[in-house]
Structure formats: C-alpha cells, structure tokens
C-alpha cells in the first residue's frame, strides 16, 4: 500500500515577513543555500489517514496533518513546503522545474 502523501526533506524555516499570510514559511535553507519566500501562490491543508491501516502503511503513530505552501523564492524557485502541524517541523516536498 502506497502512502497517501510523499514525505519531504526536513528544512529549517524562519518566521514569515509581514507581507506573507499567517502561518506561511519565511524561507528555508536547501543545499546550504538560503532561500527567502517572496510570495505564496497556493496554500492547502491535509488532515487524514488517522485510521490504523493508513498508519501502518505510513509506518507512523499519528495521523497526517499538514499545512502545504506553494511559494516563490527570491532565488527564482517555485516550490512546495509543508508544515507538520503535529510535530511542528517543516519539510521541503518539491521544487518545480
């Protein structure tokens, strides 16, 4: 059974600037290079996979509850980060070409 949502790479994220919406990432560091978020192009939330079969498939103890942010960086990247609302950590899930 494939997991519902792929897991990302842990990243450290500073607080957003005032221009960004509440809860959005301010930026992140990837391959030793800092990226600053300039704008948010989409934001969605996932809260699911709380039942035993899904947990087993995921190899985790708790459900999936994540805030996803599709953002544009000052380095010209369009990428998707998510904030694990249970654990509190941030992950970089995808960098669009």
């Amino acid at each position: 059974m494939s997991p519902f949502w792929s897991d990302g790479v842990p990243v450290s994220v500073p607080a957003p600037t005032d221009e960004l919406p509440d809860g959005a990432p301010g930026g992140f560091e990837h391959r030793s290079r800092p990226h600053r978020v300039q704008g948010v192009s989409n934001h969605w939330r996932v809260h699911s996979a709380w039942w035993p079969e899904a947990l087993a498939a995921h190899g985790v103890e708790v459900e999936t509850w994540r805030d996803y942010w599709e953002v544009l960086t000052d380095t010209g990247l369009l990428c998707v980060l998510y904030h694990d609302l249970i654990g509190g950590a941030w992950y970089l899930e995808r960098i669009h070409e």
């Binding site: 059974m1 519902f4 919406p21 509440d22 989409n42 934001h43 969605w44 939330r45 996932v46 809260h47 699911s48 996979a49 709380w50 039942w51 035993p52 079969e53 899904a54 498939a57 509850w65 996803y68």
Partner: protein, 1008 residues
C-alpha cells in the same frame, strides 16, 4: 475602520450546516452544533440537512433554549445531481420548502430524493437560495472549466428567485483548488450581478468530528476507510468556525461574511402551528359543538341508563372546557374513526389519558367510566394547559389497515399521513460498523462487544480499553443514537386541515403506497399539530375471534362491555398467577407479583399493571407497596405534604401524574413546571435534563419548610421513577382488557386459547407454552390432521384442533388446497392425497412428520418412504419406526410446539434417577434448598432495568420454573445458555408469597 471589521467578523452566521440527520454524512447532533455555536457567540445558525426537515423542530427548540436564532433550511439534490441550499425567510418560504422537498421525495424512489429544476418555478417565494458547495451547479461548471456554463447557471438561478434572494456561496476549506474556485465564483457573481455569501458547509461541530465523519462516509460506501479513501474529505476544515477564523480565508471578500448576518436577520420563521391545529371542518364551530353535545347525550342514555346526575354534571363541565379550547372538531374526528370501526365490527378501545374523560366514554372512544375509578378530566385536558390532548386508540390488529384506509379516504392523503419514527444506531450495532470500516479483525470487535455487555451488566463504565479498541468504542459511542433510517410510526396519523405539504414534507415509506411525514411524534407534538394514534393490538384481534367462536359454538355472543368488574372467580384466577395468555398480567414479572398482591377488585388490577413498569421498578416502589398492601408495614410518607398526592397508592409513587402532584405539593411547582419535569424524565438524557429542575425543587421545598435531606431524597426518587410509568387512566383502560381476556380464559377457555393461537405472535409466551397451559386447563390440543384441520386452529368438541398454519411452510394457499380437495371425499391414501392436492413434496413430508396423515394406520416412516417412491419408484425397505425422541424432536422442529407428550417426558426417568426435581416437586422444596432442575427454555429475558440479571423460564411436562441468573453466573455460562433449548440448572430455591425462583449457580445443556 478596525471596529467595523471586527463587528463583521463577530456577526458571522453559519448558513450551511449538516447534522446527523444528513444520514451517514453529518457527524454531529443538532444540539452539538448549537452548543458549538453558543460557544462561539453566534447569534443564529441555519440547519440545512440533505433533502429533509427531519430535525428542524428539535433544532428550533434546542436553539431557543440556548438563545440562538434558528434558521430553517435544507440542501436539495437536483435531478442533474447538483446541490442547492434553500433557507426559509418566512412562512410562505417554509411552505414552499416543504412542498419542494415533498415533490423531490415523492417523485423518486425511497431515500433517493431529486428535485427537477422546473419544479422550482412558482415555488420560490419566501426562499433564499445559496449556490451550495462544489456540487452546486455554478461551482461544478467552473470546476469542469466551463465558465460560460457557470454564468448561464447563475443567471438561471437568479431568474428563479426574487431579487436579493439568490446568493453565490463561497467556501474555503483549504483544498488546493479552493482559492482559484473562490476567485472564479466571485467573477461569475459579479457578471450575474449576484451578491456573495460565505459558508463553511459544516459537517461536524468541532474539528475532532472529522474522524467520525470519515467513518460515516465509509459506512455509507460500505468499505473500509482505506478502500473508500477517495470519497473522504482530505482535511478537517468542515467544523463550525467563527467569523474570526473565517475572516483570513475570505480576506478579499469581506462582504461575503457580512451578508451571512444580513440573511440571518431576514429569516424570521416560527414553527408553531397551534393556531391551526384543529383538523378539517373547524369553520363551523357552533355546529360542531352542538353535534358533540348531541352525541354525548345519546351516549348518556346508553352508558348510564339509571343514575345520570353525576355523569350529567361531569359531561357539562367537560363540554364547556372542550368548547373553550376549540377541540370539538378533534373529538368528532376521533368519534368518527371509532364509529367507523364499531359499525364494521372491528374491536376498538381508546387508551391513554383520554380515559380520564367522560365525553370520550360517552362517545364510545374509551371503555371506562372515569367517575367510577376516580380518574380526573384535568389530566387529559384543561383550559390552562393548552397542549393538544393525546388520544390513542387500539384496534384489532388484523383489521387496523381498514381503519387507516378509511382515514385516507375520508380525509385524503393530502391531509393525512403517518408520523415517522427515526430508527437510530445502537452503540452495539455501531460498534460492528465502526470496527468494519476501521478494518478491525472480528475478534477485536467481539472484544468491544464484551466490554459493552460488561458495562451494561455492571451499570458502569467498563475498564478503559486502550489502543485501537478504545478508538472503536469511542467512535461507536458517538454514533449511538444517530438516526440510521426512517421508519413508519406504529399508527401515529397526522391529520391537518390545510394540506400537509404546507406544514411538513412527506416522503414515501418502505411500504408501498404509504407515506410518512418527515417528523416523528415528538416533533409533531412540539409544534402543536394533532396526531391520532391508530394502533393495532393483537389481543383485540384475539378477543374478536374468541367472541365469534363462542357465538358459533353456543349461539350467543357475550357482551363484554356489559360485564361488571366484580366476578370473584376471575380475580381468584389472576391472584393465583394463572394468567398465561391474559393481557398484560401474563408476564413472568407479573406472575411474581400477583400472588403477593392478591388482586380482588378492578383497582388492584390497575395497580398490578402499573407496578411492573421500569419506573416503579427502578424507583424501588414495588416491595414497599406490596408490604403496605398486605398490612406488613404501615403506610408512611417522606413528608406529610405528600399525603394527598400519594394517599391512594399507599405512599409510593406509582402513576405518572403523581410526579406533577408531588412537585406541586412539596415544592410548589406550577403545572407547567411539573409537566416540564415529567417530560424531561421521559425524554432524551432524562437524568441530565431532570437535574436542571433540582434547584427549583429544593428552593420550593425549603419555602414550605421541608427539610433539605427529605426534599433531596424525594427528588432522587422522582428521578429514579423516571418517565417509564403509566398514567392511571392508561392503566385503567388496559385493566379493562385484562378483565375481558381473563373472563374469556375463565369461562370460554377453548375459544380463548384457539383465538390466541390464531393471532400469534402476541403476548409474552410462545405457542408451545399456550398449548401446555390449555391442556393444564382441560382443553385438549389435537394435532394437525389432513381431514380435520383448517388453516387456522379451530375448536373441536371442547378441544382445539391445530391448524395447518402451524406446519412449517404452510400458508393460506396450501391449507386451502387441502380443504378444497378433501371436500366431499376423504383422502384414501397418501397417493390420493398427493394427486388431489398436488402439494409440493416438501409440504407433504412436513404433514407426515407432524402426524397429520395419521389416518390410514401407516407409520410415518413408511409414509415418508412411500412419498419418496411416488417420485423415484425405489425399492421398498423395512424401516424401524421413529423412536419417541426422534418423533418429538421432528415434531418440535417443524411445528414450533408439540402436542401430546412434552419433550422433557423423554428425559424424566433419567432425570429422576439423577435426583432432579420437576416443576411440581419444586413447590414442595424449602427455601435455601439446593436443587437441580431441567427443562425447555421458553423465555429468556434481560430487562434493561434488571441491572444485568437474566430471567429464564424453563418448562417441563408439569409446568413452568423461574430461574434467575445473576450477572456473574451469566458471564460464566452465557455460552451454555445460548447453546441449546434444553437446560440443566443447579441452584438454590428462593421462595415467598407463592412465588418460587431458582437462583442459578451452574448451567449446562441437557443432552444424553
């Protein structure tokens, strides 16, 4: 500016919310949604369940209690599968909504309501439309990428509704596509010049509800959560949110939030139909009043041929009250229905609080003179309490349908429909469903069931389970009490003067050509509509049949209504608990009480019926009453103020209306408060609801100088007594049936037992027990016989001949074929029988096995063989006759009862040798003696009031034995109890007042 933005946020009202009455979709009760709304400080809330107004009355009442303004609406499913939310702005809008929902429901199959867009035309006055969720016509078009179509649909919608009555609904649940859809919807709204409104399409009150919502969706799609995950919502954003939480989501369109409050303020609708509660023809009040008096006077001459003065006075008094409350039309309606039944020879008896009324007695609605039994009219109807009175009428069950058809014909289906009942999930069945969708193995589910059983038995919370089981149990408990589907109420008919569709939506019932309104009896009562309970009672069918049989055999038909209630032979029989087959007092529990109560008059029967109710049982009223009745303890009162209220019942609370009297006398409650408490006790969450009255009760009692501990204990007693009790009037009306059925058993046993056997299933005991009881009373029960039996059981020279209907697989048609074929000439042989009846081989086989063809002197086994040869022409073999045991086992299996020898007779020699006692020996045993008994399980009860105790009745060839199984013994032997109908019980004898019980210590199946 800041304060303006703030009030916008605070003023948000949710206009799109589903409760659990959106079946298997909404995950919160209406009350939970309201609790959450109150918590958020929301001033109003709309309920918009799918295709129905099932919960609106309950919702409106609960909203008022919480100071929240209720908005009534629904989300309709259209024939193109799109959704549309409609809110009722006023009475006209509400009527249109009812009409539209009825239309949607009635034009489709049950549970599959769809409204055609064309039907909206001309029926949108007073309604406000919201364009609904992603399944709304506009949003769905946009999601398909068809902007032109979206605009067209928005314009069509606008054209259907009055200006400012159609809104484009914006929702933002943080799905990836939501932000774009929001912008597109706004664009369409601007182009179509439609205003915006925000909603959250609520499916649960709190975020935590999302798991339950997933579970419900999975149950609906009958798969595990994992299997149906594409149907599940991807997140938990569908809870009831405050304006402040929604504000950032609609930051670009603040007017959408603001408009929610503007719409809420426009929706001003009161659900109260009291003013037009009276059924048809209320216009000519004068004429109706005169007609009612005329009928009463005619009844007076009949019911009171001699002494009329007191009855006249009472009648005058009641008529004045009935005139003032405008209920003449209602009485005439009920009279008309009863008259119809009586003219067609259908047995009918009014029951319930109507028995307090002499007018009801004079009209022939109720069977009992209220003056003779100290019944008080004001408990039925009073000027102060303008509640619509309740009249329940029992009709003989087999002919109830004729009465219902008459009502439909006379008042037409547009004005008359059945009330619905909401069939709800029980925690136990929910546990199975939840376990399944969570993919739990069956043993985990069983473990959960065991925990539930233990909790029930111990009347407390079970040891807290952990892990997945805890999760399953918690979810199951939340679903417990949720509506599962809609049923037809057992007889409640709603009859209204204006068309029903202006009051409440109607939908098809499971039964063909039968319609139910979307409200249950509580809702109907709460809005002040009149309901008449047309109930079917099998005992009345049995009485009707017994009377007919007596007339056939004796030429004279007894007039039960003329019987005085003073025959000592009848009371002696009841006092001996010789009551099998008698209405109400035949149960095991009654049989325990009767020898102690020794009823010798009609009043005692009323008491006996009322004692064995959950209320008096839970309130521990039974034994104090019995001791006082026998003079073993003095009649005493917790406080002397209680004497007037409880004097008639020796100081204990027995009747429902005594709750009112006690609260009045001890705590100064108004009739309204007392009634409020009584209803709270009978309603949902009784214990919690009752607590809200405690302080008022304590305060009132203190003012009257009642010491606090006494007031506390009386209140606790009222609480324990609960709502599960009879009003005296109801018990009195039932007592008439007790007396009638007892009289028939005493004087016409053959007709009585025949009628009982023909009207099964009914009553407490199985046909097998009835047959034994008949034989103990000298009425032989003869086996089914191809030449003598008919479809029904019939009397045969003082005995009863069992009918073909008791042979497995036999219906009316098979019986009729035998009856027709044997006409003129008996069957000469089995071959002749088969040739002439052409009955299926299987049925002939059953006839042989029950001994019905024991007419040519050929053994059953040979006949079976012969039957086989009729088809297969196999070689004849010499076969041994069936052993006694085999024959009985076969007979029991096929008939469901045995005539002649009792199955226990087969074991008797062995049992005697082992030192077992039979039911007759048991009477000689002393209390505390250890005994072993064995018998056939004829009753196995676990009454909810018995705190886990089980009551088993064993039958042997001599009679019945009562076995009590305590919870721990039950836990140990539950498998043995379930395994076989023949049981061995080792236990201790308990004796008292003619009642013998065996307290089980060890239980085992009987097999040798």
């Amino acid at each position: 500016m800041v304060s303006g933005a703030h009030s916008r946020v605070d003023g948000y009202v949710e206009l799109h919310a589903h409760s659990c009455f959106s079946l298997l979709d909404g995950a919160s009760t209406p009350e939970a949604l309201l609790d959450r709304a109150a918590e958020l400080g929301m001033t109003a809330l709309a309920l918009t369940d799918h295709d129905g107004l099932y919960a609106v009355v309950r919702f409106a009442l609960a909203a008022r209690e919480r100071g929240i303004h209720p908005i009534i609406g629904a989300e309709l499913t259209m024939t193109d599968e799109t959704h549309l939310v409609l809110l009722a702005e006023n009475r006209a809008g509400y009527q249109n909504l009812c009409w539209l929902i009825s239309r949607a429901q009635l034009s489709q199959s049950k549970g599959n309501a769809r409204l055609a867009w064309a039907d909206l035309a001309g029926h949108t006055d007073g309604l406000i439309a919201l364009s609904a969720c992603k399944q709304g016509a506009v949003a769905a078009s946009l999601l398909r990428g068809d902007r032109a179509e979206a605009l067209r649909r928005a314009q069509e919608l606008a054209a259907l509704f009055a200006p400012q009555c159609c809104y484009i609904e914006l929702q933002q649940h943080l799905h990836p596509e939501d932000a774009a859809l929001l912008d597109d919807l706004v664009e369409v709204a601007r182009a179509a010049r439609l205003p915006l409104v925000a909603s959250n399409n609520v499916h649960y009150a709190w975020r935590e509800g999302h798991c339950l919502q997933d579970v419900l969706v999975a149950i609906r799609h009958t798969g595990t959560l994992q299997e149906v995950r594409s149907h599940l919502r991807a997140n938990s954003e569908y809870y009831l949110k405050s304006g402040a939480e929604l504000a950032p989501l609609f930051a670009d369109y603040p007017e959408a939030l603001e408009n929610s409050r503007a719409i809420a303020e426009r929706c001003q609708l009161e659900l109260d139909f009291r003013a037009d509660a009276i059924p048809p023809a209320a216009a000519e009040t004068e004429a109706e009043n005169a007609r009612l008096r005329e009928l009463c006077e005619a009844g007076m001459a009949q019911r009171f041929p001699h002494e009329q003065a007191a009855a006249q006075r009472q009648m005058e008094h009641e008529l004045q009250v009935i005139y003032k409350t405008g209920l003449s039309g209602y009485f005439l309606l009920v009279w008309d229905i009863v008259r119809y039944a009586q003219e067609r020879g259908i047995q009918v008896r009014g029951r319930g609080s109507a028995a307090n009324s002499i007018v009801a007695y004079l009209l022939g609605i109720t069977p009992i003179d209220p003056l003779a039994h100290n019944l008080v009219f004001e408990r039925f109807l009073s000027e102060e309490r303008r509640a619509t009175p309740d009249i329940d009428i029992d009709f003989q069950a087999d002919r109830r349908e004729e009465v219902i058809q008459y009502v439909y014909q006379r008042y037409r289906p547009e004005h008359a429909a059945m009330a619905c009942t909401l069939v709800t999930f029980r925690t136990r069945s929910a546990l199975r469903d939840v376990g399944k969708v969570l993919g739990m193995p069956i043993d985990v589910i069983r473990q959960g069931e065991k925990l539930l059983d233990e909790a029930e038995a111990a009347d407390s919370e079970p040891a807290a389970p952990t892990g997945v089981l805890a999760q399953v149990l918690a979810l199951a408990r939340q679903i417990g009490g949720f509506p599962r589907h809609l049923g037809i109420h057992n007889g409640g008919m709603l009859i209204t003067a204006p068309p029903l569709a202006q009051r409440v939506p109607t939908e098809p019932a499971t039964m063909a050509d039968r319609f139910v309104v979307q409200w249950d009896k509580d809702s109907i009562e709460d809005v002040g509509l009149v309901k008449i309970d047309i109930l079917g009672l099998r005992m009345l069918s049995a009485i009707a049949e017994a009377l007919q049989l007596i007339e056939q055999t004796t030429g004279a038909r007894p007039d039960l209504s003329a019987l005085p209630f003073d025959d000592p032979a009848v009371y002696d029989m009841i006092a001996r608990a010789d009551t099998i087959g008698i209405f109400q007092v035949e149960s095991r529990a009654q049989a325990q009480v009767l020898p102690q109560l020794k009823p010798h008059c009609f009043e005692d029967i009323i008491v006996s019926i009322s004692l064995i109710r959950p209320g008096p049982l839970q309130g521990n009223m039974v034994h104090p009453y019995l001791r006082r009745h026998r003079g073993e303890e003095p009649v005493s009162y917790a406080h002397h103020l209680l004497e007037p209220a409880l004097g008639e019942t020796l100081g204990v609370i027995l009747f429902q209306e005594q709750v009112l009297k006690v609260t009045r006398d001890l705590a100064g409650f108004t009739p309204g408060q007392g009634e409020g408490l009584r209803r709270a006790l009978g309603g949902r969450n009784a214990a919690k609801a009752a607590e809200t009255f405690r302080q008022a009760f304590m305060d009132g009692a203190q003012q009257r100088g009642v010491p606090a501990p006494i007031a506390e204990s009386v209140f606790d007693q009222l609480k324990a007594f609960g709502g599960y009790s009879f009003p005296k009037s109801h018990a009195a009306a039932f007592a008439v049936l007790v007396h009638h059925s007892a009289w028939l058993k005493r004087y016409h046993p053959a007709a009585f037992y025949t009628a009982l056997l023909n009207n099964q299933p009914m009553g407490f005991w199985t046909p097998a027990v009835l047959v034994r009881d008949a034989e103990r009373h000298g009425v032989d029960v003869l086996p089914v016989h191809v030449h003598r039996s008919r479809s029904d059981c019939v009397p045969e020279r003082g005995a009863i001949r069992l009918g073909f209907k008791y042979v497995k697989g036999f219906g009316e048609e098979a019986a009729a074929r035998i009856e027709e074929s044997r006409r003129g000439k008996p069957f000469a042989s089995l071959a002749d029988l088969c040739k002439r009846t052409r009955l299926p081989r299987r049925l002939v086989e059953h006839l042989i096995l029950v001994g019905a063809v024991d007419t040519w002197g050929i053994q059953p086994r040979k006949l079976l063989w012969e039957l086989a040869r009729l088809r297969y022409l196999e070689e004849e073999l010499e076969l041994p006759a069936l052993s006694r045991g085999e024959a009985l086992a076969l007979e029991y299996g096929i008939l469901g009862l045995t005539t002649g020898e009792h199955v226990m007779a087969l074991y008797r020699r062995w049992l005697e040798a082992q030192g077992f006692v039979d039911s007759r020996d048991l009477e000689e045993c002393r209390a505390g003696q250890s005994v072993r008994v064995a018998g056939l399980v004829v009753v196995h009860q676990a009454p909810p009031t018995a705190k886990g105790f089980r009551f088993v009745t064993l039958e042997d060839e001599e009679g019945l034995m009562n076995v009590i199984v305590n919870p721990s013994t039950y836990a140990r032997y539950r498998r043995q109890l379930a395994a076989t109908p023949l049981l061995i019980v080792k236990g201790t004898v308990q004796k008292g007042d003619g009642v013998i019980n065996v307290i089980a210590g060890h239980i085992a199946p009987l097999h040798r």
